[in-house]
């Protein structure tokens, strides 16, 4: 299953890649693949902006505007003017299951 095309904010600078393979190890959507000892983005539209690759890329080759892809959270954020938040752990009707 794929979500909307051309919306992800994932950016990858392949010159900075050292081929450690962490991004392939952590990406739950198989966005990356190792080819010739370097990571390549095989399908950007698969990216769900979770941020796991950015968190674990030691070499700054990756960036993404990550956050919860949850309508309730984003509406919350719009109303309160804060960052989108599910209210996990705070309220009973958070969207985390």
């Amino acid at each position: 299953m794929k979500y909307l095309a051309n919306v992800t904010t994932l950016q990858y600078v392949s010159e900075k890649c050292t081929g450690c393979g962490r991004c392939v190890e952590v990406c739950p959507q198989a966005v990356f693949e190792m080819r010739d000892k370097r990571a390549v983005v095989i399908d950007r539209d698969l990216c769900m902006e979770c941020g796991a690759c950015v968190q674990n890329c030691e070499f700054g080759a990756l960036s993404v505007n990550y956050g919860v892809g949850c309508a309730a959270a984003i509406i919350n954020g719009m109303i309160t003017g804060n960052e989108p938040s599910c209210g996990c752990g705070d309220t009973a009707d958070g969207c985390c299951g």
Binding site: V7, V24, G69
Partner: protein, 362 residues
């Protein structure tokens, strides 16, 4: 003295899934069962359907499965009880350690997103449990979805432990170990099967149904309001079709759309929900006819309002999926919210016109 104290401690607080304790350089730790009791199953059902999950937790710290040695693997997990249960069930027959982080009884992925399943908590928990004296190696296996919150390089720098991100699903752990701690592509990709989606629908239906009495009261009030007062017969006869369609549109958005997700055209959740919503209203009014409605004003209002409601509810499911990202949801809302407000506004006007005509004012 030490032994007596340990015994007392165990007697007082030993959880039902513990099989006693083993002594380690970091003190006595619980040896845990890899089987589920009836209470564990019941806990899962309650967590899947209600707010019960918010406080369903285990004590953070170190646990033993089987008879782990100093060289046994260490699996790190969240202190949400259902997560912990899912992990221990898959470790049957193995001799390993489990390190439970304090994630405030939230599952790994959500907790990692929040940072509670995170670098700092892991570093602190390793120190608090004196893990470096319990095991002689320096390896940790984390659930892959924890990677959102854990910076493996920082953990290694601060503790010496090298983090491997294991399979997404605990059920792949035995195969992962057999393969020499190697993941296949399947083990590191998250799927979203029809069963996965169905399991999540109670938590979509629940909040929607909680609001339904208010919607119902509003509908009955609109139809029952007459120049001579509030008439029950009018409220019921006129309002019933709308009540049923309202219920149907909630089911369309919170149940049918999530379950049929990949089979409904378009990638947008708002569009998916709207299509299922229109289809449900159309089928209900024209084929199955649990309700009949002839007035063109009411028909227009119904077709405007209810598919929009289904669409809005379907959009909420983006919070539960495994593949939707924030930028996409923001784009959907940017287009969707003005349309929802417009649809609600126009259908309210139509209802007012209907009432004015009904009261014979024009």
């Amino acid at each position: 003295m030490q032994a007596i104290q340990t015994l007392k401690f165990v007697k007082k607080t030993a959880p039902s899934w513990s099989l006693g304790t083993v002594s380690t350089p970091s003190g006595a730790v619980y040896k845990i069962s890899t089987d589920w009791s009836r209470a564990d199953y019941w806990g899962m059902i309650k967590s899947r359907t209600s707010a019960f999950r918010m406080n369903y937790s285990v004590q953070p710290g170190l646990y033993a499965v089987g008879d782990p040695t100093k060289d046994a693997d260490v699996f790190v997990t969240a202190n949400y009880k259902l997560t912990f249960d899912t992990l221990r069930r898959e470790l049957k027959g193995l001799n390993t350690w489990i390190l439970v982080l304090d994630t405030k009884s939230i599952n790994v992925w959500c907790a990692a997103g929040k940072g509670t399943f995170g670098t700092d908590e892991l570093v602190n928990r390793i120190a608090a449990t004196k893990l470096d004296s319990v095991v002689s190696h320096r390896r940790l296996i984390l659930p892959q979805l924890g990677a959102v919150g854990v910076n493996a390089a920082v953990v290694q720098k601060k503790t010496g432990f090298r983090v491997s991100f294991g399979p997404v699903q605990a059920r792949d752990i035995p195969a992962y170990i057999r393969a020499g701690h190697k993941k296949t592509k399947g083990m590191s990709t998250i799927t979203f099967s029809m069963l996965d989606r169905l399991i999540l629908t109670p938590l979509e239906l629940n909040p929607a149904m909680k609001k339904f009495p208010w919607i119902a009261a509003g509908i009955l009030l609109i139809f029952g309001l007459q120049p001579s007062g509030l008439l029950f017969k009018q409220a019921w006869n006129g309002g019933l079709p709308f009540l049923l369609l309202g219920l149907l549109s909630i089911l369309a958005g919170a149940l049918v759309t999530p379950v049929l997700l990949p089979y409904v055209p378009f990638r947008s959740f708002a569009l998916k929900g709207w299509i299922i919503g229109v289809l449900s209203i159309f089928l209900a009014l024209n084929y199955f006819r649990p309700v009949t409605m002839h007035d063109p004003l009411l028909l227009s209002a119904a077709y405007l309002l209810f598919p929009a409601l289904s669409s809005y509810i379907a959009l909420q499911f983006t919070g539960a999926t495994t593949y939707t990202g924030m930028s996409g949801v923001k784009r959907e809302l940017k287009f969707g919210v003005p349309l929802y407000i417009t649809a609600a506004g126009i259908s309210s006007v139509l209802m007012v016109v209907f009432k004015i005509r009904e009261w014979g004012l024009v």
